[in-house]
Symmetry: C2
Subunit: 312 residues, 2 copies
């Protein structure tokens, strides 16, 4: 197998790197601003790929990670948030035509999961459940060494699992999703609701409050802030219990900013998970851990996707 080029098209940055076979360290890498709402995005993507192109000129495949929704089977972006110019946009086909190289695309959460499986916390596992808890809740699922993509390429949208059909609205507009209970904005929304209802807190009502503000107040002992994270962890445990029943993985890996608060979220998560898993065997030899790759997950996932698709 020859050189692979990977690009992680993030909300603020496009990061590109070229990789020699079996080398974890890139040959070249480059970062530029995404400027998602400005024209010229495709040219910027082309130029950052050219910047990391290896001197000998041989590239076997290009892998692209992008926020969804997108279709990994056709390589089309469907309706990326913050980028109206790329609605229904044939991203992978256009890159493939431009460079004359096979090009593969999938969403950032799927590819972060794939990266953890290949290069990170999930190495050596065959059945991996990766969950990113951040502004949203996304997931990537590996089943028997293959990435779960689905018929339309929309599988593993586990943040939109219905936890309680009468629950609060999710960012997607539908009620009671896991994301509406355990994401960063959900934690903040709970705190604001409680303050409005008269619960005392060191946190003042502030529309710009974020999950980090709440975790800082919790570290200082604020009871409402602590409760907000505990509640998020409890619902996360309910969601993950159902995911174990569905996928029965050997490892659950948590990525995303909110999952970095440690026991504040995960003490109640573990209690809730044990309480809701319906057969103890699911927990036998199950690892539960945090992501190892951090910022490189998208890039390494895009690389892993290209390698996986070339081999299948």
């Amino acid at each position: 197998m020859g050189t692979i080029i990977a690009v992680d098209i993030g909300g603020t940055q496009m990061r590109a790197a070229s990789y020699a076979p079996d080398q974890i360290k890139p040959i070249k890498q480059k970062k530029i601003a995404t400027l998602a709402s400005e024209p010229g995005g495709f040219d910027r993507l082309v130029s950052v790929i050219q910047d990391v192109w290896p001197k000998d000129g041989s590239v076997e495949a290009i892998g692209l990670a992008s926020p969804g929704p997108l279709d990994p089977h056709t390589g089309y972006l469907l309706a990326p948030p913050n980028n109206p110019l790329w609605h229904n946009f044939p991203l992978a086909p256009n890159i493939s035509n431009h460079f004359g190289v096979k090009t593969f695309l999938d969403n950032d959460a799927n590819l972060a999961g794939l990266a953890e499986y290949r290069f990170g916390a999930g190495k050596g596992h065959h059945d991996v459940l990766y969950i990113t808890v951040s502004t949203g809740i996304g997931a990537g699922v590996i089943i028997a060494d293959r990435l779960l993509q689905g018929f339309h390429g929309l599988a593993a949208e586990l943040g939109h699992s219905i936890i309680d059909p009468n629950g609060p609205l999710c960012s997607c507009g539908y009620p009671g999703h896991l994301e509406a209970y355990s994401s960063g904005p959900a934690i903040v929304r709970y705190v604001l609701g409680e303050i409005d209802a008269g619960t005392k807190s060191s946190l003042k009502r502030d529309e710009n409050m974020n999950a980090r503000d709440v975790s800082e107040a919790a570290q200082k002992g604020d009871a409402l802030a602590i409760k907000a994270y505990q509640r998020a962890g409890e619902y996360l445990g309910i969601g993950v219990a159902s995911f174990l029943h569905a996928f029965d993985p050997s490892i659950v890996i948590f990525g995303g900013g909110v999952s970095q608060v440690g026991g504040l979220l995960f003490d109640s998560f573990h209690v809730s998970l044990k309480k809701h898993v319906f057969h103890p065997r699911y927990l036998e030899n199950l690892s539960i851990t945090t992501a190892a790759l951090k910022d490189d997950a998208g890039l390494l996932g895009a690389r892993a996707l290209a390698e996986l698709k070339l081999n299948s």
Copy 2:
């Protein structure tokens, strides 16, 4: 590939059949009583396999379908309901040793799903979600032409998805599972609860009431009976919405006795599914249908399992 022998070990009957390659019609078939609670079950299983053994003597593999929980990776039964003699029992290894033939085991719901994918309503599809709605709710999931089994072999237990953490108790003892809303006994329990609460109905309070009694009353126009099925369909739609978000199949196939009532269950199911699927793309070109194989599903699934494992 040579002859495959398949056995479906049901609660009341063991059904065995031998199959020539590429022939859907069995060479021989035999049915005997399971007598699960009586000793000698293993000898009965051996004898029914001998009864369908082909004259030329060559058998390439044996496939077994049994109620779970079981471990398809080791071929052990863990704790089959109604059969305390087979707890932690090495069923597939013992059969394999006895006949000197590779033997594979999986649970009846997974194998009914696999059978529908290979021989039934799911033929030609690569991503299949099979759900059986009966005394319990079970499932079998095919992802990109492979059976989802999981690390412990306990994947696809979708009847135990948590629909509402504060909901009624499931038969497994845990709260708010899909099975506690939409299975036959759940429909009956709802009717009995409403009668106790004073709701008028042509159905009389009767501990032996079953889902068929309720469906017969519904066909005659009983409002409570109709509502009981509508409610089951509504929750089934909520559950399946989450399953689409998780697996993104191209077909959903319903098996099991309760799913044979037609619009009584499925009218509200379809409304609820559309209401809860968070992106319309999941429903594009999605088939939703009932099982084609009926009683032969377990047998054909055990056969398909053996063929699949021989080829992988």
